[in-house]
Amino acid sequence: MSIAIAPRPAQPPARRLTAAARSAFTTVPPSVLLSFIVVLIVLLWSLFPALFTSYSAVTANPADKFLGPGAQHWLGTDDLGRDEFARVVYGARSSVGTAVVAVAIGLFAGGLIGLLAGFVGGWVDAVLGRLVDTLLAIPGFLLAVVVVTGLGFTTLNAAIATGIASVAIFARLMRAETLKVRHSVFVESSYLQGGSRNYVLFRHVLPNAYRSVVALAVLQLGSAIIVIAALAFLGYGSPPPASDWGLLVAAGQNDATAPWLVYGPAIVIVITVLSINRISRWLRKTS
């Protein structure tokens, strides 16, 4: 058995990227493709809700109240005769869009903390390490509740609270990834050849941490949606007529005769999070 190690021709980054994209497209399992479609639709809901429904999410229409799901109203209507599907579509922005904000906060703050701790080391690492330990010691949901109580009950504040609660997780992963790269032979040789700190950071550390941090960010997006929905369910998001998905479930719970008001938004939450988790799992497996 002979092993030929052919030197790979150096490709310009752009072509390497398109090649990677093409090979990804042909090897993506169907369930992941389906998940991408679901996530795309939900993101489009949050950007252009008016394209997906002709009903209004806020105007009451008492003549149509408590209609069951059907061709006219896909998810039925609520106690004021508003189309539940329209409420879900218009609620996507404050349910999923805000989750993106939450992940961005956790990603940037946590990433920076982890990068500093791992890259600088020494007392910086010790101090930041205790900070992360402390953040981890308070259960994430509790921390989010405390922060949103301090900031005031709006959905954006709930997103900020969710983001703050996830800082520690990103910091821990980023630190571990940074350390892994920093102590590798190629970084040592890069320093020996006169590479500056910044060069090592941008050429080696960040590109190597990228895959696993992205997989974590996608996974966090799913749990951020759940946490924000739970905060909204408890009434810590924006008050009605906002139509956050968690709030819709909480409101639907009051009308025992109209179970579809709970099922509709609940199924949308579950399918969305399931799809995001599927994508994250696939990213982790292929990275």
Partner: protein
């Protein structure tokens, strides 16, 4: 929900390699971990103080300034002196910390009970719920893991393997509402007006336990996949060990260590999830005390509960870290045999 999802994917925090592996005596390691734990608890209290006090809307001042608070001017002065409301933040923080170090958590701004007695009154209910949920999630995780290895048919095995990721995607308030809808409203197995009955507690525990069993099951499955291919398992099987005994003795035991290192995260999830589950099922407990404290802006109660959660998390974590070198001799070897735990 948040942390556990991560625990399922990343290596659960193992005891610091530097600490134990360098061959320091066990009691030095234990003392260091203990000191670290105390520091983290104090820092967590400081953090919750900072978050609650510095963020807009100082609740104590607002409550005291409210003419309907039902406090006489003398009482108001009393409370002001106790919390040092008029003093600078840093002095307030010092006062709060020194009270905390003496075990005092202050007094509720609404019910005027001490926070300690409020928590002590609610804790048994939450412990009952959390204990039930923990038991259910352990059993469920074991069943899923067993099924993932031995269910007849590849199709059935792959279905049960996808159960954990489904469980991670369903918020526990939705599970709770579904359980109430089917088992209380339609099948009348329990009465929502009496949620503390054994059956009611079981379903509340189920709602809380299902999302928690997911990461446990994932870790178990990953370890089983790893161990099943090992030679000693083949040997044990060739010597005629039954499947169930093989599972219990040779496969579950090596998976105990990662499960122990996840214990603190699970405790945290149980406390966080209890807020929602208690609200959905209308149960008493720490969660409902917290829910009321949030709606009344009752700062001392809120801070007390955060402190309690931090203490629980840190203590469970400490126990896990102290136990794991004893559980797995390979951790003790230091340089030679590094512990390898397969994670998904």
């Amino acid at each position: 929900m948040t942390d556990l999802a991560i625990a399922a994917t990343t290596q659960p925090s193992a005891p610091e390699a530097g600490g134990w592996a360098r061959g320091r005596p066990y009691f030095v390691y234990a003392l260091q971990r203990l000191a670290q734990a105390v520091v983290v608890i104090l820092l967590a209290y400081v953090l919750s103080f900072v978050l609650i006090t510095i963020l807009p809307g100082n609740a104590i001042a607002t409550t005291l300034g409210n003419p309907q608070s039902g406090l006489s001017p003398a009482q108001v002065r009393n409370v002001e002196n106790y919390y040092g409301v008029t003093k600078p933040i840093i002095v307030q923080l010092w006062m709060a910390l020194s009270r905390f170090a003496r075990g005092q958590l202050g007094t509720s701004l609404v019910s005027h009970q001490t926070v300690t007695s409020l928590i002590a009154g609610a804790l048994p209910y939450t412990l009952k719920l959390a204990g039930t949920a923990l038991l259910i999630s352990l059993v469920l995780a074991a069943v899923i893991a067993y099924g993932s290895q031995y269910l007849p048919g590849k199709w059935a095995r792959s279905v049960i393997r996808s159960a954990p990721s489904l469980f991670l995607s369903v918020p526990n308030f939705i599970i709770g509402l579904l359980l109430i809808h089917y088992f209380s409203f339609q099948m009348h197995t329990f009465d929502v007006l009496n949620p503390d009955s054994p059956v009611g507690t079981f379903f509340a525990g189920l709602a809380l336990g299902i999302p928690i069993c997911a990461p446990l099951a994932e870790v178990l499955i990953a370890n089983l996949d790893h161990e099943t291919g090992q030679e000693y398992v083949l040997v044990a099987r060739s010597r005629g060990l039954t499947q169930a005994r093989l599972f219990a003795r040779h496969l579950v035991k090596p998976s105990m260590l990662p499960a122990v290192t996840m214990a603190a995260l699970i405790a945290g999830e149980l406390m966080g999830g209890a807020i929602i589950t208690e609200e959905v099922f209308g149960r008493n407990g720490i969660g409902s005390v917290m829910y009321q404290a949030v709606s009344n802006q009752d700062t001392p109660v809120l801070q007390g509960i955060v402190a309690l959660a931090a203490v629980v998390f840190v203590v469970v974590n400490l126990i896990a870290d102290l136990l794991s070198p004893l559980l797995d001799p390979r951790v003790r070897l230091g340089g030679g045999g590094r512990r390898e735990v397969a994670t998904p």
